[in-house]
Homo-oligomer: 442 residues x 4
């Protein structure tokens, strides 16, 4: 999602009845409020520091999503709206060239000013003005509603980033602080490993891929189109920490024959010996830095904080491969009952299989983003949306791979079978994991 | 081709009759001789220097391809063969972990020893021993013939690299020397621009992609499989220098809205203002460094030495896109009569359209490699071949894009409609160019 | 001072009478209080961010100087003292290997925890315990007093760094905030240039250099020793902004013949066109980022934020040279009446000459540190002090040049004619300036 | 000497009699011939490759010294002289801005053209024209003779560099070739360690330093001037490999307390565990790459290929220090009979003490350059010479330290008690070593 362009569907489905509008307003308020709740356990100091060029400070996230509403909704569609502070556009524009110059990404952590208090005032101002907008039905055209819907989803994406970026910051701290103190059951989890993988066979054929136009979706999920697939099989569950330990113990990180050439170069340069956030303590065995602080590694939980290169090497070691994004979507469409299976995780770590699922294919959503074998490229016939907000659609469609599903820190309501997340092959700070696939044995 | 793994087809088609064998022997000799001919105009000094980590010295190419025959053919299949020099494996192994440690790629230019004379003696030794092998029919199993066929194609790949790497070296020289002096017609070419593009429409449907098993192919061209394509149109000719000048004059290199984000970053860092090897002289206009030295830019000739990022930006500027590798292969299969159209260029620069082609789709082969919109990934069901030579198959199948066709420096007989070349998105020192495509207008 | 080792004089002069002790206690309290006062106008956010590897966050400075007292005084000399928090040694040790592992210098800005409140509690704890120590005369041996004196001077050094580091942070901010709002007279200063330089001639001979043992001094000021000097002349005042503008306008930054080779390389790489913190506004002329925010450049004020390389180039342009540290010390000893001339600046920018000085050589202290032609090396017979605190004495005595005098942000009472400050040749974020010297004309 | 500016003494002593002139001519011829002799065992390939930015190819050295004579002597002083090839100035100018643009230093290894044959023809041309010049006495003013003298010394400097640069190239080669095959006695040397150090005491006082004007000297050896020294003692011999092994075995490379801070950083980054060119073989013990190839380490021979940082750490470990350049010069002036002691080494490795010296202070010249504690700075009153050749005098006088003496590869006749060599603190590819000094014990 870092690097994810904001892609409005040109025609978000019909949201213009009163009920729909008030529902939109309610969801907007919930979303805006949740951002603040996420920051509640943090100090002003925690919120200003940038742990890496890839990550942004909490304060910057809080301001940027407000700038988004100000720039693309209020400034254009609320009569008489006045910019809160002229200087904020420079500070909080992410990468919209059309919206003017901006603070370089790698220097977002230098923005000790505007202060947190000023940013919170900015948020309140924007919230009030959005309320005013909802009080004027004549301003709420379908397009405006669509922009607001986009803003909600945009803010949800940044909520996920806020959490992964804070985890990065705390993971760099010699004090390894916990973002959240209450970790019910984290330490008492049964540490037995997961049940064996069940393989789900999917026959070949022509399948529809992408978003059908009902409800919100990003533009990279369109156009809906057909693909031709060969028969394949896919694992019913995610790869676990326990399985990853076997990979480590079998010398997986020392054997170049398992790795892509670029992956081996990266792993060597950065001395990878385990997933990011894993630490071996002589006396305590493996521990994992989580949003609950350092915790013992749960072998039954899905492995996370792995790069594409590691996922690919693991799959080769396991004599399997990663699924393509088309296989993943096809398998999940067929095997998963969204009502029964898509519930988001209630904790901020990926959870072991609970065994009670009614879905054949489990852990599709709410645990870890799942690397696919598919490069992130536009769907056939993809077109860049018109207008400022869509200015840069597609400019990230290269060099990255697609991840499917959603993670333990994805906001509720933000998961979708057609969702395409994307990151660079070496990146590990998101909640990234994997699911195995293979050809069907003859 | 740098970075291209060597991928033997497990079952190269039946080559075992006597005639086939002697044909193989003849082609082997021709290929081996041509490598020396390519080096003939070079001094020992020219052959030892490495202009960049991406490129290798001529001497290294000459030795490496011989080491390949020694290691994978002679050592294993010629009874009583003794290694020419134990130390050469370290010097001239490229990236085969199974074949032991090796000189780091970036330090190939430090190998002033073994000297050129020693390397030439090494070549003669290997040639003599290959002759001995052909004199012993009982040693020439189908597998051995397949390995020799692989070695021929491997040496052909390095012949192309030898030329692009020498061009790099000479382009870095303040004296801008010519690799070849005779450039018949280079300066007298009609400098009028190319005729307008004719668009070739291809209807949608299911098409077969990849190699069918007749004749040699690299393993990355298999398995043959079906893909589902939407209707598309593709240009009948390549983009020209003249068209590229319009892109430059229209501010193409200054407009971030035309570029992929990663491309813009790279272009900014490296100050790209034109294709590689272009130079603007105040009084003489644009010139291009070629294997014939500095030459006036021919507006009718295909543009070359462009990165994927530039090709993509140009296509966006032209309100088109790049074809996928599947579209390219399908269009060429349908429109090109191989006998009429595949002839390799006789000069070492890409040529303007001559107007006499009987093919609807022209310049498919023998001019420039053509960037496609397809990431370089394995075909469905691709499997790594067994054995040492195939040890690293597929390890380059990530982060790069596929190029199709062949170039003005591709050896005769090395072009193929299913051929998949691949390079990183920023690389420009090969003879890389582009052909436009787009959706079919409704 | 960054990188300045802490060097106690083994025998600080006799401080053991009651009066001396209470004087020490008073000065300790003043010093400790001043650190907090310096931070008063800053937010918690301002205090945690690190603008560069060379600079440290305010919070880190506040904690580090407290850790210094805890580690070298309280832990060793206050009976029953218990460490405030075991984890702080890792966080706030700067570079004392003997004191254990530590947070890497470049990652001091990641320490959002311990929070500012915790650090302030730490300071109070240390202050209270230091009070307890002073209540126990039997603990206050001469050595302990010497350590406390060292701690005071150490904290004063960090007070100067705190200000230069905050200026760096604010200079990086797109909002260019002012550290201090009241800048009396800054804008109304007469902008006429300084009076012409008067040259002070000093005859050759043998002169005593270094500290004579009365009062506190760092160990790098000892041993006192003789040097043999040739006759020289030295400017009575500092080089001004107005003079520097002439250097700029005369192409000083474009002429390699004026620069040391290493300086030219650095200036080219970093695109130096003016001193650090200078900005040219089309309509407003030159401005300078100061602790009072962006201010019009005062041509009569001493130039500051220049590297050694720039100082050296300027001197060559002016057909002069920099004084050696021995010439500087000799000239100042002879020409400056300390009571009349050493008063520290009352504002946080270097001031123009006021014209009323009774000293022949003016602006020796309280304006800018003055680069000398002397490499930072140990004095003859210099010995590393024994014990933990002196563990690393001398380890910075290479690759840097000596600066003499003191600056507008040097704490009162911290200036000394024998003081040796030192920085790398490219560094510019301190208040560094210059004074010209030359041979005596024959 | 890399980085050493060429500094003509304005008034080289009177060389204008006929005898002096023919002596100059003879020495010129000997020097020019020796450069070619040094290259005799090298292939054209060896001569073109550049092993590092710090080192230059042999061919470049051969051409550059010729360009020097052409540019500063022939072009200006031989009537009717025509430039051999206009393009050579760009190729072979080292760093003289006044002489125009030039090939970047780091790209000297790309100059496969002009070829070696062309460079040899260039040398012959320059030699012939210099002969012509000597045939025209009216052209041989004192200034011209001085320039030729400078050219001879310049070429001698490059002869030393040629050897150290070739050693670097061969040391990088997996074949570790020998530059010279005959190493009489190298392997049969008595491997006993050197005799104990005798300390030479020198009383304090005022001493004259620098060149007195008789015979050639570089300008950095002037002006002759007085310095005031404290009493000191200096070792009669160099530190040996055997002593260095004790330093290694005592953990010298693992103990940060022995190192300057910058040195420890560098040693850590580059993983220094021994001097450059040392290799430990499991079965053979320590070996050293020399101009005779890999040889067993001789414990009695002087240690070489050490940086300043290592020399300084060793001295601290040995509870001594390095001498200043003034102490070194004073001790050598007093203790060394030049006729008896200054003989250059006959082999290309530093030699053990032979025990027969009549000098109290041994190994001053002809073994290894000796790091001093003195930063490389101008002498008091130093002035940049006028004119093109002296254009950049002094531009290297910063950031480096002075080395005194001469090495086993310094040409005969090029050693001098006032000679100041200088290198950066981390550089190790020259024949650099050390001699201990200390204060006089009370």
């Amino acid at each position: 999602m870092v690097g994810s362009a904001l892609r409005p569907k040109p025609n978000v489905s019909t949201l213009y009845s009163r009920g729909v509008t008030s529902n939109l307003h309610a969801r907007l308020r919930v979303t805006r409020r949740r951002s603040l709740e996420l920051a509640q356990s943090l100090t002003a100091e925690d919120m200003v520091v940038q742990p890496s060029d890839d990550a942004s400070p909490t304060k910057w996230h809080l301001a940027h999503v407000s700038w988004f509403f100000e720039t693309f909704v209020l400034k254009v569609h609320l009569p008489g709206y006045e910019i809160f502070d002229d200087r904020f556009a420079y500070c909080f524009n992410s990468y919209y060239v059309g919206a003017g110059d901006r603070q370089p990404r790698s220097q977002r952590g230098l923005l000790t000013r505007p202060t947190l208090d000023e940013v919170l005032a900015y948020r309140r101002h924007v919230d009030n003005k959005l309320d005013e907008l909802f009080a004027q039905p004549e301003c709420l055209s379908r397009d405006v509603q669509s922009l607001i819907e986009t803003g909600i989803n945009h803010e949800q994406q940044h909520q996920e980033l806020l959490l992964t970026d804070i985890l990065w910051l705390f993971a760099e701290s010699p004090l390894a602080p916990a973002y959240r103190e209450d970790a019910p059951g984290l330490n008492t989890m049964p540490s037995q490993d997961a049940p064996p993988i069940n393989w789900i066979d999917v026959g070949g054929g022509i399948f529809q891929i992408g978003h059908d136009g009902n409800g919100f979706a990003w533009d990279n999920e369109s156009p809906s189109h057909n693909v031709l697939l060969q028969p394949f099989r896919i694992a019913d569950r995610l790869v676990t920490n326990g399985e990853w330990l076997q990979f480590i113990e079998d010398g997986g990180y020392q054997n170049p024959l398992l790795w892509l050439s670029d992956g081996w170069t990266r792993a060597s340069q950065e001395h990878w010996q385990a997933p990011l956030r894993w630490h071996r303590r002589d006396d305590d065995g493996w521990q994992q830095m989580t949003l609950y602080g350092l915790q013992p590694l749960n072998p039954a939980a899905p492995v996370t904080h792995i790069s594409y290169f590691e996922a690919d090497a693991y799959a080769r070691w396991a004599r399997c491969r990663l699924p393509t994004e088309f296989e993943w979507e096809t398998a999940v469409r067929r095997a998963v009952d969204p009502d029964a299976c898509s519930a988001a995780s209630e904790t901020l770590v990926p959870q072991p299989l609970d065994g009670d699922s009614e879905c054949a294919l489990q852990q599709a959503f709410g645990h870890v983003w799942q690397w696919t074998a598919s490069a992130y490229l536009p769907y056939p016939g993809y077109r860049v949306p018109e207008g400022t907000i869509g200015e840069y659609n597609g400019k990230f469609m290269v060099s990255q791979h697609v991840l499917r599903g959603s993670s333990c820190v994805t906001p509720a309501g933000h998961s979708r079978v057609t969702y395409r997340n994307f990151f660079y092959l070496h990146q590990r700070w998101q909640f990234t994991g994997m699911r195995l696939a293979s050809e069907v044995a003859p």
